[in-house]
Each structure stands twice: as structure tokens, then as C-alpha cells.
Symmetry: C2
Subunit: 180 residues, 2 copies
DNA sequence: ATATACATGTAAAACGTTACATGATTGG
DNA sequence: CCAATCATGTAACGTTTTACATGTATAT
């Protein structure tokens, strides 16, 4: 069975052939906004995808003890990815440490809590500004069958998320500021 | 080192003494909205917390092969929890399968995608209605040092999250409906 | 020359899920 | 009496992180 990471890798390869190293950097940005993995996990997963016939590689001369391997999707890989996209996602448990802290916030020091949420808010505001710059640079939303539609869709979601979290932080700050 | 699950457990025990079984049901609702664990993991973690002196239990006669154990926080446990609340959360990687699918959505069938996002939207709308009922039942927001402030804060966040996701689904549906 | 980026992999440990295993209490 | 709920725990497996291990190409 292909893991979700396997599909994340194939989602990148569907756009362009890449080495494992390049996949790892894609897992920081832009893919890292919604899926991450370390290079050790990526190399291991690539071997599984290879065994399943979903990817293949061209060995090229390059850095590293064993040259470089440029991976690309096979027709089977592209078909598997295409099918996976429209299947309902398995709902994995939510795990949100800041919300957990909010649940226990009643026993903490309000002044320290206020500092925590102000710090979090600053982070969200910085990311909102960053995402808005990206969005302005990307221009109009293309047709849904264009690769960059995926970039628009994920950026829209990321921006909405950051705005929601910023609003929540402001609500918390308002409540806490009244107590200090 | 206490795991985040350990603090989740202590967040529940800070309100009321509980058995491991009761902690597992709390990990479905209401805690399950932002942190989950199975009973097997909870029992294992309780033994770590016990060894660290952060919780203790009273053995009581009851069901099960070994009676029941009602756990409560020790003063050390309460202090550790209190300190943890105001520490910045360690940013754990985002992993969102639906957003990953959106990233690869350009190569899928628009009609099937439309069905997927309509289904997701229906789920969000149902949860919004459910949370709004909870919120109405809870009444006004109490002082920040009252345990139920934690319930209000987490519910506010959950409601904001569901509304954000619903809005994103509607945006996707609008784009996709134009193509089918 | 030397530091940085590029490049691939393995091993150990932590975290989390699923399945296995047992048995008492309670309500119908 | 029987089923559901309450109750505790262990074992096997898969996923993810951290650390270990190596070595080339390139720009300063």
C-alpha cells in the first residue's frame, strides 16, 4: 500500500522530474505548508514507489557518493495519483498543541498567556503578509486542469487558515487583556 | 520528558480525577477535537506520569481484571501543567491530506473532485451547526481563570476553523462547477 | 583551499494505531 | 442469562524524527 507520503512525492513528480534531494527541499516550501518529510524518509519511500513500479529514475553523473538519481512518474504512477486525488481523505486525528494549551489556560498566569498569544498573532500576521505577496505575484486563477491551479487552491486555503488563527488569537488577547 | 499527550491527560485531570478508561472517552469528545489517543497509549503514558510523580491514583473496587484506578494530579503535576501552558508550542509539521489532494487536483476528473468537495462541505456545515448549538448552550464567556473558559476558547477556535474550511470548499466548488 | 550546497543512504529511538487478551459490573 | 459498558493491560506493526555515515560539485 502506498503511504500518503508516497502520494505527496508523486504530486511533486507529476509536475517535474526531481532527485530525492530536490524532493526534500520541496517538502520545506511550497509543499511543506501542508505535508513534510525528512530526506531519510523520502529516500526510503522512493524505494517503495520504485518497487511498486510507480516511479523510475535516470542515473546521472553528479555530486554524492553514488551520483544522482532523477526520479519521474511512470504511467502507472500517474494513474494511481489521479485516482487517489478524488478519494475521500482518511480523517486523521487533529492534534493542535496551542488549542490544547487554551483548554488548560484557566490555570495559567494571564500575563504570560497574553504574551504567548501576542507572539502567535505576530507569526500569523507575518505569514498573511507573505502569502498575500505570493498571491499577488501569481495573478489570476487559471483553469482547474492547469498545474498552477493546485498552487492557487493551496495558497487560498493557507491564507484562510492564517486569517482564522489570527482572529482567534485576537479574541484570546481581548479576553486576557481585560484580566491583566 | 513529559510528552504532549502527558499534558493532554493532565489537562483533563486538572478538572476532575478520572480512570484511564474515562480519559480515553474524553479523548473522543471534547478533547478529541484537538488531541486524540487510544486507551493503549493512555495507559502507557499514565505509567510514565506516575513514575515522574506528576499523577497518583486511588485503587477502587470496580470492573476489570484489576479493579479500577482513579488518577488525580499531584501538586508537582499541576505546577508542571501550569508552566507548560504558557511555553510556546513546538511547531509540529502541518499534514493535511485534503490540501495535498488540492495541490494535485489539476490532474483529476473535475466532476469527481466536485463531488469530493461537496461531501467535505456538507461535513463542515454539519459540524458548524453542532458547534453553534454547543456555544448557545454554554452561554456567556466566564472569567479566564474559570475552567469553562478553556471550553469557550477551544470551541471558538473549532468554529472558526470549520467556517474557514467551509469557505475554502465553496471556493473550490465554484471553480470546479464552471468546468463541468 | 575551503566552505557551502548537493547528493544518497542506514540505524536507533520515539510516537501512534491496530489487534490481541482478560475480566467485572450493570441493565434488560 | 446475556449483552453492553466499564476497565486494564501487552504485542506487533507502521510512521516519523534524529543521529550517524559518506562523498562530490561548485563558488569564493
Amino acid at each position: 500500500m502506498t503511504s500518503t507520503l508516497g502520494f505527496a512525492i508523486m504530486s511533486v513528480l507529476a509536475r517535474q522530474a526531481r532527485t530525492g534531494y530536490e524532493l526534500a527541499t520541496a517538502m520545506r516550501r511550497p509543499l511543506g505548508y501542508f505535508w513534510t518529510a525528512r530526506h531519510s524518509q523520502i529516500h526510503a519511500d522512493l524505494q517503495k514507489l520504485l518497487a511498486a513500479g510507480l516511479v523510475r529514475f535516470e542515473a546521472e553523473h553528479g555530486p554524492g557518493p553514488s551520483g544522482k538519481k532523477v526520479y519521474h512518474l511512470t504511467p502507472d504512477g500517474r494513474a494511481a495519483l489521479r485516482d487517489w486525488v478524488t478519494e475521500p481523505p482518511q480523517q486523521r486525528p487533529e492534534r493542535d498543541e496551542l488549542v490544547l494549551k487554551a483548554y488548560a489556560s484557566w490555570l495559567a498566569d494571564p500575563a504570560e498567556l497574553l504574551a504567548l498569544f501576542r507572539e502567535q498573532l505576530a507569526g500569523h500576521e507575518a505569514r498573511i503578509a507573505e502569502y498575500e505577496t505570493h498571491q499577488a505575484a501569481m495573478g489570476d486563477v487559471p483553469a482547474v486542469d492547469h498545474p498552477s491551479f493546485g498552487n492557487h487552491a493551496t495558497l487560498w486555503c493557507g491564507l484562510g487558515y492564517e486569517r482564522h488563527r489570527a482572529a482567534w488569537c485576537r479574541w484570546m488577547i481581548e479576553r486576557l487583556a481585560g484580566e491583566v
